[in-house]
Structure formats: structure tokens, C-alpha cells
């Protein structure tokens, strides 16, 4: 049974705080092991990667077979049914169109003092994308990471995907090819992250690593941060649905279950203005759970972390939503735009009852890599900006320097940085000659 809460209940506040504070992830402390793996890969390169792959993935590779050959890629792609290929191409095109619009503008202007200022965006030269193996080896995630990188102009994009016992999801390989990925390696875990960050004899180092992974991958990304850029550390998925009574309870139930089925640690929350509607949704969830393929996972998630909260009105719903700062937020209300305007913290908003969150997972266009665990308070979903960096530009004329320079001399003196000041003073002296 999920938790039922009502904001008019005097015990609401502590119960809601408990819901917010619930620790859904038992992330094992693998940091020491990961540190050793990274040191090993830095010291021994390919040899370490191959040994660790044999150990963890039960797969004997060589430096030659570590990377998928063009023929192997071709063979995997050929296994994907046409309908899936067409769907992946539709998804890639829509993701590309959305992310194309994110490309930021360069700028340059000259101010009243005569200083010409601006900035310029350039792509990261090389990026690495970690793709999990096994159950969570999702072709959609390949598109969501690789397409923005290529839109940004990343020259070299390498994927690592573990293939335990040699098994790979062909759709992952096809998605990589559709997205324009340049290299695919059959490795995973902390050793793959280390290889991408530091390079080996076979794998050239990259500048940025993105993509989800297990505790080892997350710990490794945290450790190599600084040597390379990383994206966020992803936690279990979450959805918050705000719905009025004018919805089909079964639709809302399916939306809640589409997060719950990801992971036993996923969290699905419904906020509704009508307690009776909430009960109907709960019954619809139970009914769907009778037959759902992943009912064991979805059922556990719903039982342990699910919640149905009845609120007085939609303003209260917006306020609770901001405290949750959900990864995914569905607004199934008559005036979804009006309610959306009241929301400050959310990774992605889905407006109206015809926009199930699953559309955003695949073909909406916006990225499905989104901030979890309340981090929408301070971070954003993946975008082209993650694969770009900005260089600021400054040009002074002699006149501009004579106007602005003295303030710099004063501040340099105040900070006891004499050479800073003198670098201005020496130039101004020439002007006064």
C-alpha cells in the first residue's frame, strides 16, 4: 500500500517530511574498490581493463576485440526489427530537432567605455558515454546522451557498454549508429570510466563523460571529476502527477506505474484535489499490477515509496511540488499552463492529460536525462550545453584602459597584488608620455 496523506490532517507535515527524507537508495560504499580500479587502469592501461572485464563480465577480450568492428556493428544493427529501427529514427530526429534549438549564441558588443566584450561557445573535442549493460541497457538513453553531444559538435564520441557473457542489446548498437557515435567498446564498470578519463593504449582519453550507471560507475565518475567533466550522478527515477478529478484513473495509474516499473527504488507520487479520485487511482494501480509484466518491481516501488496526497487546492499542490522538486512532473489539470507557471523546481513538466511522461522518455524531443533526488533545485537535464564550453572575450582600447584601468589599480593595491596593478600602470604610463 502506498502512503495516503491529506494536507488537512494535523499529522501531515511530519508525514510529508518523512516522505521527502526517505532514503530510497542504499548505495554501497564502493569508493575504496573504485579507487583501486582507477589506479590500476592508470598504471597498466589495457591489461588492467581486460583483466577486470574477464573478472566482472566473464568475457575474455583482447585489445583487438575490445572495440566493436564496423562489421560487428553492422551485424548487430541488422538484428533490429524494422519497426524498432523506424521508431529509433523518429526518436532521434525529434531529439535532434529539440536540441538544435538549444544551441546558444555567441555575443560581442562594445560598451560606452570602448571595451569590446563578449563570449564564444565551442564544443568539447571528445566525449565518452557510459551505457549500462543488462536490464538497464536502454537504446533510448544512448540517443538522449549521444544526440546532444553530436548537435553540440563533439568531434569524437566513444561509448562503453559492458556485455556480460558477451551479450549485447542490438538496439543499443543501432541507436549509437543512428546518433553518429564514433567508437563502441565492450567494457563497463569503473574500469570503463577510468579508461575514458585517462586513456589506455587502445582508448584515447576523452574530455567529458556522461551516462548512467551503477554504484561503481557513479563512484568512478565522482573520482575522475576534475580530470574530465561529468554529468550529474543519477539516482532512481521519480514522477509526481498533479491531477484534478477530471481524469481517467487508469491513465494516471499507468503514468505512476511507468516510473515504478523502472526500479524498486523509483518513486511515484500523486497529488490530487479530490480524495475520492485518489482512491480510484489506487484501485486502478492495483488492478494493473495484477497483470503487469514487471509487477514485482513496480509493486515493490509503489508499496514502499508510492504516495497519494490530497490537497486543498492547486496552489497547495504547486507548493508541495516545489518541495519535492520532482524529476518528472505531470500536470493533468484543466489549466496546466497556469499551474506550470506556479512551479519553480522540476526537471521536466508534461502539460495536460494527453502528455504521458513516457512520451518524454522516448520521442517528445526534450532530454530524458533529468535531475533526480531533489536536485532539480539546482540542476537541469542534459542538454547541448553539457557538451559545450564558453570562452569569455575582452578587448581594451588605450582609451578604455585609461577609463577603467585606475579602478583595477586600486583594487590590485587593496589585494596586495602589485604586479596586477603594475601591468595596468605600465601601459597607462605610455599613454601619458
Amino acid at each position: 500500500m502506498p502512503v495516503f496523506l491529506d494536507t488537512t490532517d494535523p499529522g501531515f507535515e511530519p508525514a510529508f517530511a518523512a516522505l521527502l527524507g526517505a532514503k530510497r537508495e542504499d548505495s554501497p560504499d564502493v569508493d575504496a574498490v573504485v579507487a583501486e580500479i582507477i589506479a590500476d587502469v592508470r598504471a597498466r592501461g589495457d591489461a588492467a581493463v581486460l583483466e577486470l572485464t574477464a573478472k566482472f563480465d566473464r568475457l575474455d577480450l583482447t585489445t583487438e576485440t575490445m572495440r566493436f568492428s564496423p562489421a560487428e556493428i553492422e551485424a548487430e544493427c541488422a538484428k533490429v526489427p524494422d519497426s524498432e529501427r523506424a521508431a529509433l529514427e523518429t526518436a532521434a530526429a525529434r531529439i535532434r530537432a529539440y536540441h538544435d534549438r538549444q544551441m546558444p549564441e555567441d555575443a560581442s558588443w562594445t560598451d560606452a567605455q570602448g571595451a569590446t566584450l563578449g563570449w564564444r561557445w565551442t564544443p568539447v573535442s571528445a566525449a565518452g558515454l557510459y551505457v549500462p549493460g543488462g536490464l538497464a541497457s536502454y537504446p533510448s538513453s544512448v540517443l538522449m546522451n549521444a544526440v546532444p553531444a553530436k548537435v553540440a559538435g563533439v568531434g569524437r564520441l566513444a561509448i562503453t557498454v559492458p556485455t556480460p557473457d558477451g551479450v549485447v542489446n542490438p538496439a543499443v548498437i543501432l541507436a549509437a549508429r543512428i546518433a553518429g557515435v564514433d567508437e563502441i567498446y565492450r567494457i563497463g564498470g569503473a574500469q570503463a570510466v577510468a579508461a575514458l578519463a585517462y586513456g589506455t593504449e587502445t582508448i584515447a582519453p576523452v574530455d567529458k563523460i556522461t551516462g548512467p550507471g551503477n554504484a561503481f560507475v557513479a563512484a568512478a565518475k565522482r573520482r575522475v571529476f576534475g580530470k574530465v567533466g561529468i554529468d550529474m550522478i543519477a539516482g532512481p527515477s521519480e514522477i509526481l502527477v498533479i491531477a484534478d478529478a477530471d481524469n481517467d484513473p487508469d491513465w494516471i495509474a499507468l503514468d505512476l506505474l511507468s516510473q515504478a516499473e523502472h526500479d524498486e527504488s523509483a518513486q511515484s507520487i500523486l497529488i490530487c484535489t479530490d480524495a475520492g479520485f485518489g482512491r480510484k487511482v489506487a484501485r486502478a494501480v492495483d488492478k494493473r499490477l495484477e497483470t503487469l509484466e514487471r509487477r514485482a518491481i513496480a509493486g515493490a516501488s509503489w508499496r514502499d515509496y508510492g504516495a497519494i496526497i490530497t490537497v486543498r487546492d492547486l496552489d497547495e499542490a504547486a507548493s508541495l511540488s516545489d518541495r519535492i522538486a520532482p524529476e518528472h512532473l505531470e500536470l493533468c489539470v484543466a489549466d496546466a499552463d497556469g499551474l506550470s507557471a506556479k512551479i519553480t523546481h522540476a526537471g521536466a513538466i508534461f502539460l495536460g492529460q494527453w502528455t504521458p511522461e513516457a512520451i518524454g522518455d522516448y520521442v517528445g524531443g526534450p532530454n530524458h536525462v533529468l535531475p533526480t533526488a531533489r536536485s532539480a533545485r539546482f540542476s537541469s537535464g542534459l542538454s547541448v550545453l553539457d557538451f559545450l564550453k564558453r570562452t569569455t572575450l575582452t578587448r581594451m582600447t588605450p582609451q578604455a584602459l585609461s577609463t577603467i584601468g585606475p579602478a583595477a589599480e586600486t583594487l590590485a593595491r587593496s589585494e596586495s597584488l602589485e604586479a596586477h596593478g603594475l601591468s595596468v600602470t605600465a601601459r597607462l604610463a605610455r599613454l601619458n608620455d
Copy 2:
């Protein structure tokens, strides 16, 4: 003596690689200590912060005196000479004007399938700014962190600045007031970072922490990343100057020294097309080092990490520059714009001989918090974007869902996520009723 290199020398490549790989920072492993401090602050709040402040800063505070009162702020500000106040106000105005232009646009459009897509930017609600104490307590850094936060619309901005033995730099307090900082606390070290991230009885938690600090601060920021957002982990400062022979050697010498005087681990590199000019600059550096106030620091930096590299032409200079990916890049050449266009990786570029880097430290307008240690390959200087986050928006019409939805159903089936597919199927079924 700095290193003298010449690209025509057969030994150049290994020597340049050694220069690139030089480990300039001996960051002590303080991670275990920092983990304990954070756990202590989480468990005991104010009490832990007060004890640690007494221990490390030799300062007995109470929960009442932990924060600067309005009267104390007023008293500190009154100590700052008028010329410095005016310079800080000039700097703040220029930094504000530059960062105002960085504010990104929201977007919304409806595509051919009838899907309305877009995004919206919102500010982080609360941010914390770490300001180092002692020698590196720079008012300019307060402006560079606080002004972008306020331009972004951060509602609550708290500063922590350690005041060892009770000593504070009044200009830091004035800079905070000019920038519109809301709260100033007399605490520092890992305990300050922990207090900002997790909150105590006196300090409300923030969502994002920025600002430079020592090894303890850096380790603490790395540890609280995820609970809150952080900016980059800053390393020692660097400058690369590319100069032709048509420059005053003394100006270039001062520009190199203005980085070297920051820190014994700072690095100043000159790339020039004329070996004779390089020798003149080296002599000018030596001459300035005879009298420079911070000659001990600047001299050590220049001796241990300084380099003068002679290249065949400016194309070669651009190529070496990209391998260095410098934090600061000065282009003292006739066609600085032309050379700038050939550069891909740099935190900030200063164009022409009338633009000493020190202008960018104080009053140019662009941020002086920039990527160090070659991280300009994948990251950017601080900007308003560090204090904003983006929410993606998606709205499907029934028509759009019927066009796009089937691809989502196919991909959901392929990923064995049945509820994802059913959430679309159930809606499409209604349309076909």
C-alpha cells in the same frame, strides 16, 4: 630560471609534454578528516561548527555572533577608503552589465506534429558563497561570485568567510554588501561547507555552493556534491601569453608576473615567434622580480613552472595553446581577433596588448572564476547559468499523441517497459473509440 623551449628543437615534444603534465598542486589527502567534519556538522549542527571554529580559527563564537549583524557590517564597510569603495562599485557595475547579457531566453514552439515544446529557466532559491580567509580573502572574488547569483535572481545568498583570530578584510564585507549578499557568517573550512549544504539551527541550507578554498574546502565541496550543486574545483592560476616581437617586454613580463604572484603553484607561460623577444621578456621579469613585493612567491612560481616557448608561427602557437587549454590567454599580436578564431580551448581570452589580464581580474566585466588545470577543455567560467536551472516543457494534443505515440509504444516494448507503452496505448484507445 623558467624553461626555455623551441618547437624546432628535436627534444621539444617530450619537454612540452613534461610541462603539460607537471603536477603543480600537492593536494594533501584530507578526505577522511573532511568526511568526519561533515558527519559531525550533520549530527550536531551549530555546536560542531562552533567547536571547529574555536579549534581552527582560534575564535570563540556563539550562535548569536556566528553571523555578522547589520551594525557589524556597517562598521566594517565604514573602514574601507572611499577610493576602494568607488573602485568596487565600478567593478560591480561592470560585472553586472556583462552578466546581465548572459541571461538565457525561455523558449516555446509548436512543431509540425502539433507538439508544443520548450523550456523555462528559473533561479536557484538559495546559494552559498565560500570566501577564503587570510591572504586569499579577495573582495574581487566576492563580486565575481555574488553578482552573477543576484543577476540570476537567487533569492537568498549567504557568505561564509573564516576570520582567524577574529580578523576580517573589511573590503570583503563591503563587496558583499555592494553585491547584495543577504547573510554573512564568520566560519570557514569544511565545517562551513557542511553547514551550507546541510544546514544547522542557525544557518538554513542552500541549494548551491560556489567559491574557492583550500584542500579542506575543495574536498568538502566534492563530498556534498549531489546534496547541493557546486561550481568547479579550482586549482592554481595560470596564464598563457602569445606575443609577437612588437610588444614592450616589460608589459609582457608584468602580465606573466601577475599570475606568478598569486601562488607558488601558479604557472605563467609565454609563447613567442621571436626567440630574442623571449629573452628580453625573461630579463624584464628578472628585473621586476628585484623589487616586486611578492617576489618570493612570484619568483618561485616563475622558476618552478614558468616557460618561454619559441614557435615557428602563430598557427603553431594556437595549436600549443589548445593543448595547454589555459585559464587565461593573452593575445598580444597584431591580428588578435584572427588568432583568437584559431583557439578552441581557453577560459578567457584577452585581445591585444592594451588588455592586460589583470583587467579581467577586476573590472573588465567577464568572470574571473575560470577553469584551471586544463579543464577549459570541458568547462567554462562562472556565469549566471551556474545559478539557474532549466525545466523542459512538453504538451501533446490528441492529434500529436496519435502521430508520435506509436513510436513510443514500440520503443517501450523493445525496452520491456510495459507500463510506459500502456500509458500511451490507453490514451490512443480513447481516440479510436
